[in-house]
């Protein structure tokens, strides 16, 4: 029994130049307590995928098709009131822009209080103090306004908000991208600790493969709106199957020759026009004639991984 099941998720944005297919046919299962990392470059659809999980896509975007099953309810088709009850209580968000994610005119305590009030949950200062303590913050933070906190403290408050109702799934959308390296590590440690404590499954979105490797059980690699590879951390680093994954890992700076950064030449394709073949083919060093004409389907590999590549 999985905590969350995503089936054939497609998200589209209507634009003046046509429909942008930001997420195409993404499927994955999340086991209870599992930590899944979603990586990919800017525009690969990882944040859009993450926000879809709470049905937070705003017009002109919409979930065009697919299912997001949590507790037997399809979040993609849930009524507004059902959705409201599930958000935070069953599936919670740790937002990307911690700097700006808290209401500047309310104290942090008030932002916990309205969360409890909205779900009819028992609140109170003792409960808030306990939540703040679980993310390493003092009780006085409840009386402070967001502008009185540092970036790392704000992100801790956001994590405390996310775990307040002990949800089954936490979606963390690049929670560390606005923070410096030291604080990044602390925040991820905090997230890990509270996740273990309440036993929630986590979807962590990011672009730092190194950070992901330390946090996640499994890593999903996204490219041009598609999930191109999904495998356990150990397997994906030892034997990356998709050429894009391999190039991503190779581009990580190591302790080797200084000043030599390996990138991936070229740019991702436009999401406006659908290529007939694999969307990575134009940049792929291993692309054959078949790759440009036929879309590779997802194949299940031995060891539980899956990959979308003709050559893998």
């Amino acid at each position: 029994m999985s905590a969350l099941a995503v089936r054939g998720l497609c998200v589209e944005f209507a634009s003046a130049r046509g429909i942008v297919r930001a997420v195409q046919n993404v499927s994955f299962d999340l086991a209870p307590g599992e930590r899944l990392g979603l990586v990919g470059e800017s525009g690969s659809g990882k944040t859009t995928t993450a926000l879809s999980l709470l049905s937070l896509i705003r017009p002109p975007g919409r979930i065009a098709s697919g299912e997001i099953l949590l507790d037997g309810v399809d979040i993609a088709r849930a009524t507004p009131s059902a959705l409201r009850r599930m958000r935070a209580a069953r599936i919670a968000l740790v937002p990307q822009g911690a700097m700006n994610a808290l209401n500047p005119v309310l104290t942090c305590g008030a932002q916990f209080a309205d969360l409890f009030a909205a779900h009819g949950a028992p609140g109170g200062t003792a409960r808030i103090a306990k939540l703040l303590a679980s993310v390493g913050l003092g009780v006085e933070v409840a009386t402070l306004y967001p502008h009185q906190l540092s970036g790392g403290m704000k992100q801790r408050v956001c994590i405390a908000l996310a775990i307040a109702l002990r949800p089954a799934v936490i979606v963390a959308d690049e929670p560390t991208s606005a923070l410096d390296v030291i604080v990044q590590k602390q925040i991820l440690k905090t997230l890990l600790a509270v996740q273990r404590d309440i036993g929630a499954a986590v979807v962590l979105v990011g672009h730092d493969m190194g950070l992901m490797a330390q946090f996640a059980h499994r890593i999903g690699v996204m490219y041009a709106g598609r999930l191109v590879e999904l495998a356990f951390v150990r397997d994906i680093f030892a034997t990356p199957r998709h050429p894009y994954t391999r190039m991503l890992i190779d581009s990580l700076p190591g302790f080797g020759a200084r000043g030599v950064f390996k990138g991936i030449p070229g740019l991702p394709p436009s999401l406006l026009t659908a290529l007939p073949g694999c969307s990575f083919a134009p940049r792929c060093p291993r692309a054959g004639p078949r790759c440009t004409v036929e879309m590779p389907q997802t194949r299940i590999l031995e060891g539980g991984g899956e990959v979308r590549c003709h050559d893998a």
Partner: protein, 332 residues
């Protein structure tokens, strides 16, 4: 916090001081000698005989213009602080302060009410316009409101006067209270005053609603894109709570600045409306005084204007930390 208050109050006093000084300097920098002009006017009317130089000296002595400039300046400051603005030339010897104070309640009553009303209704309308799930009917309502804001308020006043005062005479078109009424503290008086305020008030409200609505709509659209709105949604808060406590509450902050500025300009804000409706407020009195070349009344009203702007700014500075906690922190 005490330091913040003292700094703000000190600032307001400084602004007043500068405004008073400018008010003192400008008439004295203007070309021509007011005493000689006055005497020339009197003699042209055939009312003056005898030694002109002697008369001029006597007049200067009476007005205190023969004293050194520094002494005049200090006397002027001292008088201003006591709100002694001299006497009216046109309706001699009525003190200017009396004329100004008689007009003040009318202007504050009419323009204060109209400004607050258009602020509240306009901001609410603008906020609803920006809300994606607002009733469709509102969008249709918005068009005439925005179009009306492009019409100057005095034109609107004349049109309203013609429609509701003359074509279909339901409302009085001139004055602040029924003609010949002896004002008492009773309901009939209040009703009479209210009736006379409807048309001038309405022309101001209708002309400024659109401005408030358009500004507020822009602010709410900006705020809705903020991360904290998305997190509020992710928290499962009700639509109402997100709209009011997260959206409108934040979008309203710059609107308050605008409101304070508008309230500061209240006294001079709608002179033409007061003129059109012969409303006995400050604006009407200023208009009459200019026509009569009543220099001291004009000067007194201009002083009141700078005083009210300084007061409105002070009020804003005192209230702003209460509505935006970031301001108190930044400047304390």
């Amino acid at each position: 916090m005490v330091g913040y208050l003292l700094r703000r109050i000190g600032m307001a006093v400084l602004v007043m001081f500068v405004a008073l000084s400018v008010n003192f300097a400008i008439p004295r920098l203007m070309p021509g000698d007011p005493v000689e002009q006055q005497l020339a006017a009197v003699s042209a009317a055939g009312g003056q005989t005898g030694d002109m130089a002697e008369a001029a000296a006597a007049m200067r002595a009476r007005l205190g213009l023969d004293r050194p400039l520094a002494v005049q300046y200090l006397a002027f400051l001292a008088n201003s602080i006591r709100f002694d603005l001299g006497v009216s030339v046109a309706s001699y010897p009525q003190p200017v302060a009396e004329i100004v104070l008689a007009g003040l309640p009318w202007t504050i009553g009419l323009l204060g009410t109209a400004t607050l009303l258009s602020f509240v209704v306009g901001s609410l309308l603008g906020a609803m316009l920006a809300w994606p799930r607002a009733p469709k009917l509102l969008k249709f309502l918005a068009l005439p409101v925005v179009v009306l804001s492009a019409v100057p308020y005095f034109i609107l006043g004349i049109v309203l006067m013609a429609l509701l005062g003359i074509l279909w005479p339901v409302l009085p078109v001139a004055g602040g209270y029924p003609f010949g009424m002896v004002p008492n503290a009773d309901f009939a008086t209040a009703l009479g005053i209210a009736k006379h305020g409807v048309l001038p008030g309405l022309s101001i409200v209708l002309a400024s609603l659109g401005t408030w609505a358009v500004a507020m709509r822009g602010m709410v659209v900006g705020v809705l894109g903020e991360d904290y709105i998305m997190l509020a949604e992710a928290k499962g808060l009700s639509e109402r709570r997100i709209f009011l406590a997260y959206g409108v509450r934040n979008a309203l902050l710059p609107q308050f600045t605008q409101l304070a500025l508008k309230l500061g300009l209240l006294v001079s804000g709608a002179i033409l409306v007061e003129v059109i409706f012969a409303y006995p407020g400050i604006g009407y009195r200023l208009y009459v005084a200019i026509g009569q070349k009543d220099v001291f009344v004009v000067q007194g009203i201009v002083m009141l204007l700078s005083l009210s702007i300084a007061l409105a700014m002070l009020l804003l500075d005192l209230i702003y930390p209460l509505i935006d906690p970031r301001v108190a922190a930044r400047s304390a």
